[in-house]
Symmetry: C2
Subunit: 456 residues, 2 copies
């Protein structure tokens, strides 16, 4: 008792901290288990510690609030996913953002949005002022059902639920399936916000190395065995950040490995409309049995209107609808209606063709420009906006990013994407955000300076 009291008094154990389990404490202090039980009970009776039924004993007092920035090991600000996202989202006019994860605003479907808003101004009363139904806009769900069918995924409209974003879609699935302490597989590297999202769920993320044909099958199998993960979150179409695409054989092997487990797979399909030659989808191979597919329209129509979706088994959709209702009440009927108007506008197909062409041109140009400063892509992607590149001479990407930021260029250094922090000398470039020559000048200078530091 004296020992625990002094730890609390010295703030070695802060309010809300969990005490060692009875057994661990007994071992640590070389006393019997029943001695510890008695000490804990007396301290609880005094109000110094509290017993949480089913969980253990805690130092009395308030629990520190969930500050994501304080969870996990301290990392460089430049590889902190939240910090990078906030930098990218702040609208400072003179900042260049090759590290940003989306298209420049003038590449998006502005004309379609204007037309959709004008026609929406004449919509009926319910569309303009009423809540959405629990699953969301029936017509948009019918449209998405047909679109998924075109990709070989059979999802009737009642197996589709609209959400406010792709991120909210994954968040709801995590709420549905995960408990604090569970393990989730992610690609290494993967979209960095998955790391922040999983932190918010207080679960453990385990990375599986990503190869040019999808996740490393052997490592995937080993991770299944070792960690018994509940969930695997991936992008299949155009992988973020590598630009790789899943091969049919890898897709098949991953699903086969998963067969002997309880793994659920979330397939994030937000880059589908940027593909030139559609890659295989896990959801198509699996038939939405263990795979849940999600998507959104922020990367192609507009990021200003928030709308995403989840396609899954019927019973999962039902529970997810309850969770959406409890935690955000309703999605936006207006947003879904706007997205539907834009998607079904006769100009949308032409718009997307132009975007894909422009991306291909920018991809070629960026590869050439990067080559002039000694940077080579890990893989030349078939399509999309991302180039995953290794810096020359093992330069530290976080340090380079720090130097570039001083000159108002925001980079996305590799370790922000890597659960194992094994991408120290990688950087993700968004070719659509890399049109300005200043980016390459600033980057070259930063690399030279780093090289100088290294050689000193």
């Amino acid at each position: 008792m004296a020992d625990i009291r002094s730890r609390i008094a010295s703030r070695a154990d802060l309010p809300g901290a969990r005490l060692r389990s009875v057994r661990a404490q007994a071992q640590a202090m070389q006393v019997s288990v029943s001695t510890v039980v008695e000490a804990y009970e007396r301290l609880a009776a005094e109000g110094v510690i509290v017993s949480r039924p089913g969980s253990g004993f805690y130092v009395a007092g308030p629990v520190a609030p969930l500050a994501l920035s304080r969870i996990g090991p301290k990392i460089d600000r430049e590889v902190d996913p939240l910090w990078i996202s906030r930098q990218s989202l702040e609208n400072e006019a003179d900042v260049l953002k090759p590290g940003c994860g989306w298209l420049p605003s003038d590449w998006l479907y502005e004309e379609g949005m204007r037309r959709a808003l004008r026609s929406q101004a004449r919509a009926d009363t319910l569309e303009l002022t009423d809540y959405a139904t629990p699953l969301g806009h029936p017509e948009l769900r019918r449209f998405l059902s047909r679109r998924l069918m075109g990709n070989g995924i059979e999802a009737p409209p009642e197996q589709i639920m609209l959400t406010d974003s792709g991120t909210q879609a994954i968040d709801l699935i995590c709420r549905y399936l995960l408990q604090p302490g569970d393990t989730v597989l992610v690609d290494d590297p993967c979209y960095f916000n998955f790391h922040a999202l999983l932190k918010a769920h207080r679960v453990k993320a385990v990375g599986v190395p990503y190869t040019p044909a999808g996740p490393d099958v052997e490592a995937f199998g080993a991770a299944l065995q070792e960690h018994a993960p509940r969930l695997y979150i991936t992008n299949s179409g155009l992988h973020n950040p590598t630009g790789a695409v899943l091969s049919p054989v890898t897709a098949h092997r991953i699903l086969k490995l998963a067969d002997s487990s309880d793994l659920v797979i979330v397939e994030d399909d937000i880059f589908a409309d940027l593909e030139v030659n559609p890659a295989p989808r896990l959801a198509a191979f699996d038939g939405l049995s263990r795979v849940i597919q999600i998507g959104s329209f922020s990367k192609t129509i507009s990021a200003s209107v928030r709308c995403g979706y989840i396609a899954a088994q019927a019973d999962r959709i039902d529970s997810l609808a309850d969770l959406k209702l409890a935690t955000s009440f309703s999605g936006s009927r207006l947003a879904a209606d706007l997205v539907l108007r834009a998607l079904t506008d006769s100009g949308y197909r032409k718009h997307m063709e132009a975007v894909r062409l422009r991306l291909a041109e920018q991809m070629a140009k960026t590869i050439t420009r990067l080559a002039t400063i000694g940077i080579k892509p890990w893989l030349v992607p078939q399509a999309g906006m991302f180039l995953w590149c290794r810096l020359p001479h093992g330069a530290d990407a976080a340090g380079v990013a720090r130097a570039c930021l001083e000159e108002k260029v925001v980079l996305a250094p590799g370790n922000a994407f890597s659960q194992s922090l094994s991408a120290r000398d990688f950087v993700r470039f968004n070719v659509a955000q890399s049109g300005d020559d200043r980016i390459f000048k600033v980057l070259a200078r930063a690399l030279q300076r780093r090289a100088g530091i290294v050689s000193v």
Copy 2:
């Protein structure tokens, strides 16, 4: 070991279920603590159970997903908050919804929405296609800051964060402050979706009886002592479902009681614009120290455009912004812009005056109509849309609701709002949704039938 094995084999303990604590198990089986420790360790080594560091022992295998409908005691479908919300959100044309919690769509600001959409169609590119900044639309936050100042709440724009809805605002605060197993105080009765939201956070809700002047101060103090809650969630302006308003003396006493605790208070202010004479606000008395205020525009402008806000201490806003980013990435820039256009439209003030007048008329009419079938309000509200009424002869509101639903009238029975299930013979009426005579005919028939059953 045999006992635990047999409980698992018979599925008395399902995969994912937590085993009794070592101590509880030792007591239950009348064996020593160390015997239980050894048995648990051996079973864990065999893989029959798993140890979660810091949490206890669990039956191995997948954890059942979070189905809100299966948490807590089984309750009547008619008093299940999720079920009532889903009924209210389904758009069936011929269903009457006096139990619904919002204004009919043609009472909302349709003309303002049309004007806002037309002018938005001419907005600049960034507004139409780019992400929102982390805290959301700066101009709307400046506007809200001035509006809050008018209510005596000092919140500079950087202490305001926009959200997708009032519900998302409370959800983010719960994520920030709560851990599974924490206790939260709610009013009894309170807005029923608070119950569903708190279930989703796996926390314990404790009800404090609501009086015509606010929460019962003595019961509030006792609950603080007994449960050491982390959070208290309330509406101050026009209380849902009672229509009561907080008196200055109650507000002062509640804050004084909270002074000696670590309680955080969420004040949900979504009905502010329906008030005729503004009631005191906890946030104004407290100066946003322990109080966090949230609001939205679904009840006054449109429920189809989703936009809410949180006003709080600066460090809380910063952590909440990280959480919003991790779990939904960005709010809708378009939605915030639309709300700002509607709020600053010259017609908005006139629209709200008309709504308040219409509500007062409907309130008077509904009270008269209810009196003819023997139903009296618990309190005649000063304003707003809700009437909290006791049914005659102790009729069971859930049963009456079931009977009315068969005739396509959706009621909101009292126990959906009551944590202690002590409002069995209460019903909440929305006067704005009670204009149709059929409601009262159907209700009278249902009451007569119930009375008949009771007298038999």
